[in-house]
């Protein structure tokens, strides 16, 4: 390989890196939803500090907004994303609310949101699997 090509390689790779695929974005979303779940469960057991819980949920909330804004552009065409769109919007909102409930130490309301979050997470996971199957084809 010539030196010139070697020099171009990293540049090419950097460009290739710019837009993560839909699968990768779905992985990130699932990762953050899972984070919210683990953080929530730990807080309900009173084993993590309030401030940490609130900050982590806020971080999760912001990261989800970041990723989902780019997601629907990256989706392959011909996929019905309405259901996942609403599930995602709802869970993002819920996570934001949960962060506030931590401050109020309102465990029952927090529990309810966490449960609905977990059911939304299932919808998102099913959707991710269907996309992966589509991209593999």
């Amino acid at each position: 390989m010539s030196a010139k090509r070697l020099a171009v390689l990293p540049l090419f790779l950097a460009l290739a890196c710019k837009s993560p695929s839909a699968t990768e974005q779905m992985d990130s979303i699932i990762s953050w939803l899972g984070t919210a779940g683990l953080t929530g469960e730990a807080w309900l057991r009173h084993t993590t500090p309030d401030k940490y819980t609130r900050q982590t949920l806020e971080l999760t909330h912001d990261s989800l907004i970041d990723i989902s804004s780019g997601l629907f552009k990256a989706l392959p065409s011909g996929i019905d994303s309405a259901s996942v769109d609403s599930a995602l919007t709802r869970s993002t909102q819920h996570i934001g609310l949960m962060a506030k409930l931590v401050e109020q130490k309102n465990s029952p309301a927090f529990r309810a949101l966490l449960d609905s979050l977990q059911s939304d997470e299932k919808v998102v996971k099913q959707f991710a699997d269907s996309i992966e199957a589509k991209e593999d084809q």
């Binding site: 390689l9 990293p10 790779l13 950097a14 290739a16 890196c17 992985d27 990130s28 699932i30 990762s31 939803l33 899972g34 984070t35 779940g37 683990l38 953080t39 469960e41 730990a42 057991r45 084993t47 993590t48 500090p49 309030d50 401030k51 940490y52 609130r54 900050q55 982590t56 971080l59 996971k125």
Partner: protein, 404 residues
């Protein structure tokens, strides 16, 4: 009796000082993303490290030269300077990452962000260097670091499928995400085979006045210390594989990593992680600051010893003072320590040929080592590490871009 005590202490300090933000972050990401599949990288890195650490100690004990002393003498100033630039830049980034790790640990404990902690933390690290002695840093920090054994207990309690763990010890290709897999493998090797550890260890042998009678002890300390340390890295990987992977959680940020033991130790998991990181990164920050100061002082032939008053080795003290203060700046500017960690681990791999290459010559030098020269096994290991490190140095940067 005294020797047994020294031996035990030596192994304990190696174990307590093994984990730091690099090994924890890379192992955690590997476990969360690929399950046990990257265990082989920790195994390989640890085996290489055992040999290299043993050689570092042997060179010091026999020749009374540290690696840096010998490198400057044999290879001359221009080569030394070239290595100095590479090693110091990488070690500096690792120091930033460790200080960030301390800051992050304090952040999750108190809720106050790590940029606020950056300056106080570096001042405390500096104060330890300024006032402390070598044995205080080596033993004190490492004893605190023993809290990291909680990762091993967690892994044990999680009761992993040991046959799967065993098959992870052999390299295999993943079905998808090959770039990320490669990047993590490179970073794990960079985190395991960390050159600063070798400079620190060989300088420590001089500070502790080792002589030929320590050769056997050196062998035992390096073998068992690094093996147990490697087990701790593997434990982090196993814990994350079981705690995060089923939920699809990836470890991209520090607050996510903090959740790794909250399920297995409901009551203490969070705090065990926070204090493990706090003490492990604190110990590592001290060791790296010392290693950088040693590198300069030995390479240029200044007075150096952590046991001297700062005014008796002014340039040595000056180097660590400056380095520690500058390392706080990126953190104050809110540079993400996890990003710095991943970058510095990949860069460590890239600079490994510079760090390890000289070993092949120095460890075969009859003037330095006489009959204690490397045998063919050690030489083969060094040769293999050099070959691996050349490959790593070529692929690490592209992988950093694609996988990181």
């Amino acid at each position: 009796m005294k020797k047994i005590l020294q031996l035990t202490l030596g192994i304990i300090t190696s174990v307590g000082g093994f984990l730091e933000i690099g090994s924890v972050t890379t192992a955690a990401q590997a476990g969360a993303s690929f399950g046990y599949q990257l265990l082989w990288a920790i195994l390989l890195g640890t085996i290489c490290l055992i040999f290299l650490i043993e050689m570092s100690g042997r060179l010091s004990a026999v020749s009374k030269h540290t690696i840096v002393d010998a490198m400057r003498e044999r290879f001359g100033f221009p080569f030394f300077f070239f290595v100095l630039i590479g090693i110091v830049i990488v070690a500096f980034l690792v120091l930033v990452a460790e200080l960030g790790g301390i800051g992050f640990a304090l952040q999750i404990l108190t809720g106050v962000g790590f940029p606020i902690w950056a300056l106080p933390v570096s001042l405390i690290v500096w104060l330890m260097m300024w006032k402390g002695t070598f044995s205080l840093i080596e033993n004190g920090a490492s004893l605190l670091g023993l809290i990291t054994i909680s990762f091993a207990i967690a892994a044990w309690k999680l009761n992993p499928d040991w046959s799967q763990v065993g098959s992870g010890m052999l390299p295999s290709m993943p079905g998808s995400d090959k770039a990320k897999y490669g990047f993590l493998a490179v970073s794990i090797l960079g985190a395991s085979i960390s050159p600063y550890l070798m400079y620190f260890y060989s300088s420590g042998a001089i500070e502790d006045e080792w002589d030929r009678s320590y050769i056997g002890m050196n062998r035992i300390i390096s073998t068992f210390g690094m093996t147990f340390g490697g087990f701790l890295s593997m434990a982090v990987l196993i814990v994350c594989a079981l705690a995060f992977r089923p939920a699809g959680v990836q470890v991209d940020t520090f607050p996510q990593a903090a959740l790794m033991m909250t399920t297995i130790f409901p009551k203490w998991g969070f705090y065990l992680f926070a204090f493990s990181m706090l003490f492990a990164c604190f110990g590592a920050a001290l060791e790296i600051s010392l290693a950088i100061a040693y590198f300069f002082a030995q390479g240029f032939g200044w007075n150096w010893s952590e046991d001297l008053e700062p005014s008796k080795d002014a340039r040595f003290a000056f180097v660590y003072t400056i380095i520690i203060l500058i390392a706080a700046i990126p953190l104050i500017l809110r540079v993400d320590p996890i990003k710095v960690t991943m970058l510095s681990m990949a860069l460590t791999s890239a600079t490994l040929p510079l760090a390890i290459g000289p070993f092949l010559f120095l460890m075969n030098d009859p003037i330095y080592l006489g009959k204690y020269r490397n045998g063919w096994i050690s030489n083969s290991v060094v040769a293999i590490v050099i070959i691996i490190s050349f490959v790593l140095s070529i692929i690490s940067i592209p992988l950093q871009i694609v996988g990181g």
